[in-house]
């Protein structure tokens, strides 16, 4: 019953979206989705200001109990994949990824977004000052007790004109603040990282020091080891929470020629850094 409604919802919103496409000259495209998940394109300005880039975002809303995926989804799921090639006057894109949260289901490690997330995107224009038509062909997933693959074509036209921030600019700004930056910016010092390359069970050890507030419940997302996602670290806090030793069991020995990408999340702050694998 719910599924039948879902089918109808998709058709309705798809129909609505295609009507909206014709007239969408604003800082937000139409929502495309259903009662589980919906997504739309937003831009930080109503019109194209001077400059060769356009700040945009992919805004997702998930119904209660549903989640979507980070760039490295983990043991299951798929990351959102966007094809911008149907756009006009866009040469390339840079997507930023807000820090994910960890969801463990039946031993499967998932790095996910729930409720609401904006993926900030910088779009690079071929020709500054010329009109832009954004077309994002998006493939993504949403899961609860089922996992559903979605495909959405999102479009939004932005004409040159007086700049000024849009109503949606605040959403993009807020999302940028949740994108992991440097450890220093998060008030964290990376004291040491090392991989103990035991063949049976290699481990990654990361020593951290917090310069301002104590660590609360640090988690570490390790990218670059196999295709899955290592489980959450064992955490040993010291010095009143100002130091932390994170120990992660790696599922396999990381490749020697590429550093691991580590994303640290803790109590609203996040940082990204790398560690030499060997």
């Amino acid at each position: 019953m719910a599924l039948a409604r879902f089918g109808l919802g998709v058709m309705l919103s798809a129909g609505f979206a295609s009507c909206a496409n014709v007239v969408a000259h604003a800082a937000a495209g139409a929502w495309v989705g259903d009662n589980r998940v919906a997504v739309r394109l937003i831009t930080a300005t109503d019109h194209l200001a001077a400059g060769s880039t356009l700040e945009a975002g992919l805004e997702f809303r998930f119904a209660r109990g549903w989640h979507g995926y980070w760039r490295t989804p983990g043991d299951a799921g798929i990351a959102p994949m966007v094809d911008w090639s149907g756009s006009e006057n866009i040469s390339r894109d840079e997507i930023a990824w807000p820090a994910p949260s960890r969801l463990v289901i039946e031993d499967l490690q998932n790095s996910v977004y729930a409720d609401h997330v904006v993926l900030p995107v910088t779009l690079f224009l071929k020709q500054a000052g010329a009109p832009v038509r954004i077309k994002a062909s998006l493939a993504y997933a949403a899961c609860s007790d089922i996992c559903v693959p979605y495909q959405a074509d999102l479009t939004l036209s932005v004409a040159p004109g007086a700049g000024g921030t849009s109503a949606e600019a605040a959403l993009i700004d807020a999302a940028r603040k949740t994108v992991p930056g440097t450890p220093a910016a998060a008030g964290i010092e990376i004291v040491a990282t090392r991989v103990e390359p035991s063949a049976s069970e290699p481990i990654l050890v990361v020593d951290l020091r917090s310069s301002d507030r104590p660590f609360v419940r640090p988690d570490l997302f390790v990218e670059g080891v196999g295709n899955g996602l290592p489980a959450a670290p064992e955490v040993a806090l010291g010095a009143g929470g100002k130091t932390a030793r994170l120990t992660v069991r790696l599922s396999s020995l990381p490749p020697a020629d590429r550093p691991l990408t580590l994303t640290l999340t803790d109590d609203g702050r996040a940082a990204e850094f790398t560690a030499k694998a060997r």
């Binding site: 599924l3 089918g7 299951a76 799921g77 039946e106 007790d145 089922i146 559903v148 996602l229 396999s252």
Partner: protein, 234 residues
């Protein structure tokens, strides 16, 4: 003496042909799943239970391709599984998702909801849509398929499957976390069209350790099924 016995059996069967057939053909339970789906392990476990505990059910696990990620692929995923689910999704109007269980080609439901699936299996047994008896036997490197006479038309599908595989759960390797899955479909192929008259086919043994044959009516509902060695009805 023996022939009289057979005749009287036929007579009894003639009195309630539906009941006789219903008892003898397994209800086909198709699970659409993937190792790259976090919601799927409970449904995988359920299908495995059906495969070991229910002789009246033919469970088949189709591993779809759409959760194959960058640099990772469910080793049992195949395009034919994705396509088969896509056809069901169009017919039922609910799209594709995992885990989905389709019972006798008649209804799709969330694959981990045991009570829904159990009820659908009972409904299928009562409805007993059986157009023809089917048997399949192994004959060297070939399988011999017999479809009896009956009313209606249908596609004859030859399905090869592996009885059980244990693999690392999800995409993690060497993590020590494993998942055992049953009746994993490795191949599916339409081998003939049935139009009411009895027919025999000889086919190459398909990819997979075991074999099932399914008769699919034009509306997609399953109206005949047999598994290697289990024979057919009547």
């Amino acid at each position: 003496m023996l022939s009289r016995f057979v005749m009287s059996l036929g007579f009894i069967a003639g009195l309630s042909p539906l009941a006789a057939q219903a008892a003898e053909r397994p209800v086909v339970v198709e699970l659409f799943t993937s190792q790259g789906c976090s919601s799927c392990p409970p449904a995988d476990a359920y299908l495995r239970e059906l495969s070991t505990q229910r002789a009246d059910v033919l469970p088949l696990a189709f591993h779809v391709t759409y959760w194959d990620g960058l640099g990772w692929k469910d080793p049992y995923s195949m395009q034919a599984a994705t396509q088969r689910q896509d056809l069901y999704g169009r017919r039922f109007g609910d799209g594709s998702y995992t885990p989905e269980i389709v019972v006798d080609g008649a209804a799709g439901m969330v694959g981990s909801r045991r009570s829904d699936v159990g009820a659908a299996i009972e409904r299928a047994k009562r409805a007993s849509r059986t157009a023809a008896a089917i048997s399949v036997t192994k004959n060297g490197g070939q399988v011999a398929i017999q479809v009896g006479s009956g009313t209606g038309t249908g596609r004859i599908l030859l399905i090869g499957f592996d009885r059980e595989h244990t693999t690392a759960i999800g995409r993690g390797e060497n993590s020590g976390r494993t998942l055992t899955e049953a009746n994993i479909v490795r191949s599916i192929r339409a081998v003939g069209q049935w139009s009411g008259a009895a027919l025999r086919l000889n086919e190459q043994f398909p990819e997979g350790q075991d074999v099932a044959v399914v008769l699919e009516a034009p509306d997609g509902q399953i109206v005949g099924a047999a598994r290697l060695g289990t024979g057919g009805s009547t």
